[in-house]
């Protein structure tokens, strides 16, 4: 039992000696922790440390292999998510668990739609109620929009809103902020603070340690499925180096150290002028680009900052030929190009790591090898169309070392990897093509601190090799850490531009939030 047994408040939930095996893998080994009402407990650890597994056990998704759980003084053995829900344990899962085909309102009221006198669902009441609920998290979309039309960030907010609208005693949040920008994060943190005052217990997983440090009362750190230790807020917030040391098992090096401004001497590789898109009937909510001008030089990292819905992803997709362009020109190495499909863009030397890894990047059921080589089938095959598997494997082995990808074998299905490692495989996919321009959209979403710095280093190395990198990120510290130059976007326009060394969070926020500021 943890040491706080003497604390005045009774324990709400106690986990005692939980172990979980997946055929072959031990995801959790003898983990214990507890949480009290009105407490925010941070659950931290590297990718694959076992955080999500623990939370899934608590919320009844899967049973533990051994160990037990006490909830509210009684033995707690949930056999389904419903059991957890009934006791007031509400979970926000890491992989979004909304129903894409249903509306926002229905997702919020799933399984408990308000009914009228005849027991029939009242759509009117459902709509009105959900409008209020999503307003709490700062969303102002029509609750009758199907979820499939929302951006990842909006979906995340809907999911948070749904959890908050349930009567709960314990809220479990698995990386709720990974897709959010600063504004939404702050709003969420203040909501969490309010819940804490209402004596709700919150278990909170994040890879953004500043957040964790700012809000958590206590932290439990996991490492390789084992308990690495507990941290308590003593007087002030828990300091980052303490957390990192517990997480990785050694002293923390400086995080987010701004790389010394590199000498960026390259020519302009990619140049975009007056780029406009039209409303796509298939994606009616998508932001329309409204005359974007942007230049990308060889060997530089261009950071693109903006709030959710500012059109950054649309810009990336338009350049990449994934969406149709209405007007404007794109030139690559001085020659005008008009990629009509990603295949065209790729052939021209452009790569894109998309923001939604699960739906747009990985082939979940396929092995790591085919996931890695899918964009370079041409160079990994001979003239007769046969795969040159040896060459392919050697290349993967090289990247495995270079990016320190943690995997069992090239045949392992990629869905068995932790998020950070999946992301590295996707990066390797593009590095194997040696592109002139690489666009990365939220490259470290859900990636742990250690791996995150690795990804940053990789981006810097790429730039050093002369590749023009455009990095879209919702995490300002990240943008500030690696960008040579930063542009800000708002409502489909560029609102500002500055060298990375001159930028700071306040300036960027101002440009991101400001309406109508001419491009310098």
């Amino acid at each position: 039992m943890p040491a706080e047994a003497a604390s005045p408040k009774p324990v709400l939930l106690a986990v005692e000696g939980i172990t979980k095996h997946f055929s072959g893998v031990t995801a959790l080994s003898d983990v214990s922790l507890d949480i009290r009402p009105g407490e925010i407990l941070g659950l931290l650890g590297e990718n694959g440390a076992g955080k999500s597994t623990l939370l899934k056990i608590l919320s009844g998704v899967m049973p533990p292999s051994s160990g037990h759980i006490i909830f509210d003084g009684a033995d707690y053995q949930p056999s389904s998510p419903q059991d957890a829900k009934r006791l007031g344990i509400v979970t926000i899962y890491q992989e979004l668990s909304l129903i894409p085909t249903l509306t926002v309102a229905e997702n919020i009221f799933i399984g408990r739609a308000p009914v009228g006198p005849l027991g029939l669902v009242s759509w009117r009441r459902m709509e009105a109620a959900s409008r209020d609920i999503i307003a709490r998290v700062g969303l102002s979309i029509d609750p009758m929009t199907p979820v499939s039309a929302l951006s990842v960030a909006e979906q995340q907010l809907v999911e948070i809103a749904r959890a908050l609208s349930l009567k709960s005693r314990l809220i479990i949040m698995d990386e709720p902020t990974s897709a959010l920008t600063e504004t939404e994060v702050q709003r969420l943190l203040s909501i969490m603070d309010r819940l804490r005052k209402d004596k709700v217990a919150i278990m909170f997983v994040t890879h953004r340690l500043e957040e964790a440090s700012a809000i958590c009362d206590r932290m439990t750190v996991l490492r390789d499925g084992r308990l690495a230790g507990h941290l308590n807020r003593e007087g002030g917030p828990i300091a980052l180096p303490r957390i990192i040391e517990k997480m990785v098992g050694r002293a923390a090096s400086e995080l987010y150290a701004r790389p010394a401004q590199r000498a960026v001497a390259g020519d302009v590789v990619l140049s975009v002028r007056g780029l406009r898109t039209v409303r796509d009937p298939e994606a009616p909510h998508a932001i329309v680009l409204d005359g974007v001008d942007i230049d990308l030089k060889a060997g530089e990292i261009l950071g693109v900052a903006g709030l959710v819905g500012s059109g950054r992803t649309e810009l990336a997709r338009a350049i990449f030929g994934a969406d149709r362009i209405a007007a404007g020109t794109i030139t690559l190495d001085g020659k005008p190009i008009a990629p009509a499909s990603p295949a065209d863009a790729i052939a021209l030397g452009i790569g894109l790591v998309p923001e939604d890894r699960k739906h747009q990047a990985i082939f979940a059921a396929l092995g790591i090898l085919p996931n890695f080589s899918v964009a370079s089938l041409g160079s990994f095959s001979n003239g007769f169309g046969f795969m040159a598997e040896r060459r392919e494997r050697d290349a993967l082995a090289g990247f495995r070392k270079m990016l320190s990808i943690r995997m069992a074998s090239a045949e392992q299905a990629i869905e068995g990897l932790s998020g950070g490692n999946q992301q590295k495989v996707i990066l390797a996919r593009w590095l194997a093509r040696d592109p002139k321009v690489l666009i990365v959209d939220e490259p470290t979403r859900g990636v742990d601190v250690g791996a995150k710095t690795e990804v940053h280093q990789i981006l810097v190395q790429l730039a050093a090799r002369g590749i023009a990198v455009m990095m879209i990120s919702s995490e300002l510290p990240e943008v500030l850490a690696v960008s040579d130059r930063i542009v800000t976007m708002r409502r489909g326009r560029i609102t500002g531009q500055m060298p990375g060394v001159e930028a700071n969070e306040e300036r960027l926020m101002e440009l991101m939030a400001l309406d109508r500021k001419e491009t310098p």
């Binding site: 919320s59 998704v61 979970t91």
Partner: protein
């Protein structure tokens, strides 16, 4: 839900017409056939069509539930024959005396027992298939394909290959009777369609069906009893196969071992043409009704114009594809 349905629960007719391709297409077909031969619009013919679509239509209602969960049921044709045979045995009080067409007073257990037997057996058979799907984790396609052969075999075994014919007038009324000018099977179909529409649109159960089809894993994480819902949709389609079997037997005054062969494809077509996605989560009862009507009108209209049978096949195939293509095209243009 179909895009056409106003998400607030009501139905906006202008938008319905504008954006719901199959309905527009159906209207266009009716216009064409009427121009070609005005007697097409003869009420008798229209009622004939409603009676004709009621059998596959009833099954298609149940199939809508199944397909909404991303499942499929290939066994419905065989199950129809099986339930029909069960109903016949009950109605005749055994397998002896299977051929007397005359309605010789009270011979068996009466129409109510026959109806009950058909729907209970249908629902139970569906339930068993649902359990195999959820418990043994065998894909619905395989389970119900197995069901397709098994139920046919059982039907032939019960009836020893032959038909069982000759029911009471009270039973036959369900197939051949009229209420006012409207055929009873058409009324049964209409009532069932309205009921299904209400269940899918306005009950928690119905919304859960959509949720399970939209993303089963997310539905489970949201606390829905996914397996129970999956079993229930196979029970529902089985129930409707039983009901359709009863109506068909009553209409033909005979239950045949070869009834319903190939119905699975007609039924699934009706559902899919009506806009329900085979990948689950999207669709509506209204769409299915329109889909069934489209197929019925097409067949009747071509027959009415004495189009040769071979050409009929070709035309029907092409028009089905066209109808769906048109719907896709409209949706891609009109959306919001």
């Amino acid at each position: 839900m179909s895009v056409a349905e106003d998400q607030r629960g009501g139905i906006n007719f202008a938008r319905l017409l504008m954006s719901f391709g199959p309905l527009l297409f159906l209207v266009a077909l009716i216009v064409v056939f009427t121009v070609l031969k005005p007697s097409f619009m003869d009420p008798i013919n229209l009622f004939n069509i409603t009676r004709q679509i009621s059998i596959t239509g009833l099954i298609a209602l149940g199939m809508t539930f199944v397909i909404l969960t991303a499942g499929i049921d290939l066994s419905v044709g065989s199950l129809l024959a099986f339930c029909g045979m069960v109903a016949a045995v009950v109605a005749k009080g055994g397998t002896a005396n299977t051929l007397s067409l005359s309605t010789s007073g009270t011979q068996g257990y009466g129409w109510f027992a026959a109806l009950l037997a058909a729907v209970v057996v249908g629902a139970a058979a569906g339930g068993v298939q649902g359990l195999v799907i959820t418990r043994l984790k065998v894909p619905p396609f395989v389970v119900t394909l197995g069901g397709l052969t098994v139920f046919r075999g059982l039907t032939l075994t019960i009836s020893n290959g032959g038909p069982i014919s000759g029911f009471d007038a009270s039973m036959r009324w369900f197939g051949t009777g009229l209420i006012g000018p409207v055929p009873v099977p058409a009324l049964i179909f209409a009532a069932a369609a309205i009921l299904c529409h209400i269940v899918l649109r306005y009950t928690r159960y119905g919304r859960a069906v959509y949720a399970v089809g939209g993303n089963a894993e997310a539905a489970r994480l949201s606390g829905l009893r996914v397996d129970r819902i999956l079993v229930s949709v196979y029970v529902i389609v089985g129930f409707f196969a039983g009901l359709a079997a009863f109506v068909l037997s009553a209409r033909l005054n005979s239950s045949e071992a070869v009834a319903g062969i190939g119905y699975e494809l007609t039924v699934i077509s009706a559902v899919v043409i009506g806009g329900t996605s085979l990948f689950g989560g999207i669709g509506s009862v209204g769409g299915t009704v329109v889909g069934a009507a489209l197929i019925g009108v097409l067949q009747n209209g071509l027959q009415f114009n004495n189009v040769s049978s071979y050409t009929q096949s070709i035309v029907i195939g092409l028009i089905l594809i066209l109808a769906v293509a048109f719907d896709r095209w409209l949706k891609s243009r009109v959306r919001r």
